[in-house]
């Protein structure tokens, strides 16, 4: 029990006067800082967004003039009216293939890690995925170059394999995280019904996580769609329109942008800019869609 000596002795009714006192030195400093903080954060946001706005603006300004039907409808090999169709079509073949290969494996690995692995394994593989995620994509290309390409020559298939090396950890990490968010109570409910372990995972857990899995797939796809370095020495790029021939070289949108931007002819550089618009539009659209989905689920 506090004695009178330790409790504050102030007259009753002093509270109101204390509220009205002007701010002291320490409070004044804090007020100044509090007013500064919003300014600083707004500035930081502007600095962060500025490159994105600059990129979009530049690409549009430089690329819109040559963004025409010819670009989209003709291949680069077309002697009279070259375009970028070979690149568009190439991306649309290699990236889905890489998604099936790398994304599929990543999905399975993520399921294994989340549902069946012990904690030691999980720690080890967690680290390995971190490493893979951080490995520069040119190394993926180098790896496939020194193995597949050395043996069989450059090919679209090699390009897809190189892309899948990049997409695998993206999908694996996304899968593992999404599955971890499914509450244990769901798994228990399923087991308590007499449903076996793997059936539980397949039909109940994966289904519960399907929204997140779709998001992970979209992210992996966007990642693979925008990668250039892995394709430099695997699929190498090609001016010819290649549909279906996976053992020859094939172009891709980012490859096209890179290669054509370095050509001496101004016309081709302009085409590179236009192709960049298409590439940027696709990748941005996917990323925005992913964001929109996650906002929807949060509102729910």
């Amino acid at each position: 029990m506090a004695t009178d000596a330790t409790l504050p002795t102030r007259p009753s009714g002093a509270g109101g006067a204390r509220l009205l006192e002007p701010p002291n030195g320490q409070e004044r400093g804090r007020l100044r800082r509090d007013r500064l903080i919003p300014i600083v954060t707004v500035l930081a946001t502007v600095v962060t967004i500025a490159p994105l706005i600059a990129i979009i603006a530049f690409v549009l300004v430089k690329g819109l003039p040559s963004l025409n039907g010819q670009l989209v409808a003709n291949a680069a090999g077309n002697p009279s009216a070259p375009g970028a169709l070979n690149a568009i079509v190439g991306s649309l073949q290699m990236v889905p293939m890489a998604l099936l290969l790398g994304g599929g494996l990543g999905l399975l690995a993520g399921i294994y890690l989340s549902e069946f692995a012990g904690s030691r394994t999980r720690q080890l593989f967690g680290f390995l995925v971190d490493v893979l995620l951080g490995v520069p994509s040119i190394i993926a290309g180098l790896l496939v170059y020194s193995t597949l390409v050395a043996a069989n020559g450059s090919s679209a298939f090699a390009g897809a394999v190189a892309l899948s090396v990049v997409m695998f950890p993206v999908m694996m990490r996304a899968t593992e995280e999404v599955l971890r968010l499914v509450p244990t109570s769901i798994r228990e409910a399923s087991l308590a019904l007499g449903i076996s372990g793997w059936r539980t995972v397949l039909s109940i857990v994966l289904r519960a996580a399907r929204a997140g899995l779709l998001t992970g797939t979209m992210l992996a796809f966007a990642r693979g769609f925008g990668e250039t370095a892995p394709l430099l020495f695997t699929a190498k790029g090609s001016d010819a329109l290649n549909i279906g021939d996976l053992s020859s070289t094939m172009s891709a949108l980012p490859l096209f942008v890179y290669q054509y931007s370095r050509l001496p002819d101004r016309f081709f550089v302009a085409q590179a800019w236009s192709a960049a618009i298409i590439l940027l539009a696709i990748v941005l659209a996917i990323n925005v869609a992913v964001r929109a989905r996650s906002i929807n689920t949060r509102v729910e």
Partner: protein, 94 residues
């Protein structure tokens, strides 16, 4: 604090490995640049520029060797991120 440090290291790793953006502007001159305004080279840009025209085995081997160095640095960086995250997590158990 953990997250910030980890983020910085991850960004560093990302920048280490960035190939195309760097290759396009760095000039691909094998020199240690005298100032930041002179052309230079990174491992990634060297590989990107030279791998296509490799003719001798030694040249190929050395490019791949460069790749191994880059890979090793990346792996070490990832390991460092993991370790510091764990160290900080146990110190500031929140």
């Amino acid at each position: 604090m953990v997250g910030i440090l980890g983020g910085v290291m991850l960004a560093f790793g990302r920048a280490l490995g960035e190939t195309i953006a760097v290759t396009m502007v760095i000039g691909n001159i094998d020199q240690v640049p005298g100032s930041v305004y002179e052309p230079g080279q990174t491992i990634a840009s060297k590989i990107a520029t030279n791998l296509g025209d490799v003719t001798e085995r030694l040249e190929l081997a050395s490019l791949i060797g460069l790749g191994v160095v880059l890979l090793a640095v990346t792996v070490l960086l990832s390991a460092l991120v993991r370790l510091t995250a764990r160290r900080f997590a146990t110190v500031h158990a929140y």
